[in-house]
Amino acid sequence: MTKAIRIEHITKRYVIGTMKHETMLREAILKVVTLKRRRREEQAILALNDLSFDVEQGEVVGIIGRNGAGKSTLLKVLSRITYPTSGRIKVRGRVASLIEVGTGFHDELSGRENIYLNGSILGMKKKEIDARIDQIIDFAGVEKFVDTPIKRYSSGMRLRLGFAVAAHMDPDVLFVDEVLAVGDADFQKKCLTAMDELRSGGRTVLFVSHNMAAIENLCPRTVWIDAGRLRMDGPTDKVIAAYLATFSESQRTGYDLEHAPNRGGNGMIRYTRLDFLDAEGQPTHVFRSGEPFRARFHYRVNERIRDPHFGMMIHSDLGTRVCTVSTWHAAYHIPNVEPGEGELELVIDDLFLQPNRYFLSLFVDSTGQRFDYLENCIAIDVEESNAYDNQGRGLHPRWGLVYMPSRWSVSVPERKAAER
């Protein structure tokens, strides 16, 4: 087999700090005029750190990793949008990369015009677009509106149009970044089918996603990137299992969040600790379907903030968001918070989750800003119980992610008296 992609010792260094300062001409001039070499505390981030791997022709490889692990940077370097600080990459054949659907769409132009514009931005020749335009319009399902400016399109139509163009590219090597995360279920299915066709057509595909189910469906091989380095490379099921295992630290009732890695938000407020409690208020590490779920969050406010929303998201082990609970969702309004330490307690009366492993992400945000964000920082295993049907039958991962307590009333046809 021939190598379609060869990545050799790629490093990408971003210097934070210079961006902010030097983008003002004044700073640059001052530096020259005053002849002062002010020492900036240069903070460098290695988004990619000596990363190497090869991809064979016709292989479909999934790329996974936490937020900020370097997945998107890798894709950008591969697609020549940005340059690596050192190292080299060889790509064989015609490359197309889908980092966003509908790049370069212009609101004032019609659907048809945007197909041409977007197609040529993605590297298609006009002749190719001419030949495929009917298929593209058909795939997007916008026949009626193809000569209407796309500012009148719904966001779904835009998305479909964008993906339709992308799906009709004819590359040898395709890089895809998470574009499937958007759109309704029907559309996602269409996209996955299109991706599958690309695969069966012998194309080499590199697919970055948080959606483990999609990776498992599409990619026999997966590469796990952690802090810019290659952490693991191998069969998808093994890599995903190892990746997910890093999230879990069961048997623990309390979590110190002070030094949690990969934390987002501007830091005006930070979660410092999380304790799980049982119904009596005692520390626990056992979570059961249908039983109460209690958690106590400790936080530290560094700067006075207004109107914060504290909350938590629950994701399944395959990355599907199951639910979000927050003070905002519960219409619990907190007008002001002064600097200092604080606590809050969350009680979910009945945990309607099916037995499975779930990941908790904690956040504090407000309109337009995010103060703290801990993505998938804690894994919990929900155990089965007899909450549902007293038999334990209805509670099993195979029935889905949540269960719905339900009541039935049934009427069945009865045997007629004459037949007796």
């Binding site: 983008t23 001409l25 004044r26 080299r88 490359v95 790049t103 004032e108 040529s120 931005i121 993605l122």
Partner: protein, 268 residues
């Protein structure tokens, strides 16, 4: 294909050629959207230089009594106003083009120089519309229409080269220093007074004439005007100098662009 290795100059140009269709699509897009959802549409292409001409002929033709080289001041000023309007529109557009297309730059690969170059060229459509109207203005003022007007498309070439040179330079500087955005309108205004738009080339202050002639707009605007007016010959050496300076500036800014474009996606 090698990724991550800086292409040599020849490859860089070959790459531009490979993406020529995108170049024309972007020109087409800019032209197409320019007058979308406007009441007067493409007549703006004429209205702008025309209105300027009216104001100038009142102000400078009557009040200041500027010498208009033997033709009505209206014709004299409009002949230079057409190429000037092109420059005044295309240069800032090109200089801000990388910023206004930042989404493209951070999401897709293509030779970056396409962006400022296509922005500059997109002003050419308006130029031809406005130039066409010149013929009617000349007829209205009984100025004989010259065959040398056919040289206008030729004169547009150095004008395009000069505009693209400035556009490429400022747009790449603009990625790093947003101050440029505020400097451009100011710069255009200064350029107008340093170039023979309102006045004739002969009225450049004598002491500084030699230096001022290195401004390519002097030779270019002079050639446009001389080709339109029956009263004067084209000053070819002056035009030649303008072409040479334009090409030299183009090459310098291409080098600067080539050196800075690697960073665009990271800092834009």
């Amino acid at each position: 294909m090698n990724v991550g290795v800086r292409p040599v100059a020849i490859e860089w140009m070959a790459e531009f050629y490979r993406y020529r269709e995108l170049f024309f699509f972007l020109v087409w897009r800019d032209v197409k959207i320019r007058y979308k959802q406007t009441l007067l549409g493409a007549s703006w292409a004429v209205l702008q230089p025309f209105a300027m001409m009216v104001v100038f002929s009142l102000l400078f033709g009557r009040v200041a009594n500027i010498d208009s080289e033997g033709v009505p001041y209206q014709v004299f000023s409009y002949a230079a106003m057409v190429p000037w309007t092109f420059f005044q529109y295309a240069m800032p557009l090109s200089s801000n083009s990388l910023i206004s297309n930042s989404k493209l730059i951070s999401k897709v690969y293509f030779p970056r120089a396409i962006i400022p170059a296509s922005a500059a060229l997109s002003g050419a459509v308006d130029f031809f519309i406005a130039a066409f109207i010149l013929i009617f203005i000349m007829m209205y003022y009984h100025v004989p229409v010259q065959a040398s007007l056919l040289l206008w498309p030729l004169f547009l070439l150095p004008l395009l080269v000069f505009t693209t040179a400035l556009g490429m330079f400022f747009s790449s500087l603009n990625v790093k220093y947003r101050d440029i955005k505020y400097t451009i309108p100011f710069l255009v205004q200064i350029m107008m007074f340093l170039s023979p738009v309102i006045y004739g080339t002969s009225k450049l202050p004598g002491k500084y004439q030699t230096i001022l002639q290195f401004n390519p707009m002097v030779g270019i605007l002079d050639a446009f005007r001389a080709a339109a007016l029956p009263t004067r010959e084209i000053n070819w050496p002056l035009f030649g100098l303008a072409c040479a300076v334009s090409v030299a500036m183009f090459m310098l800014s291409a080098v600067y662009f080539y050196k800075t474009e690697r960073e665009f996606a990271d800092i834009i």
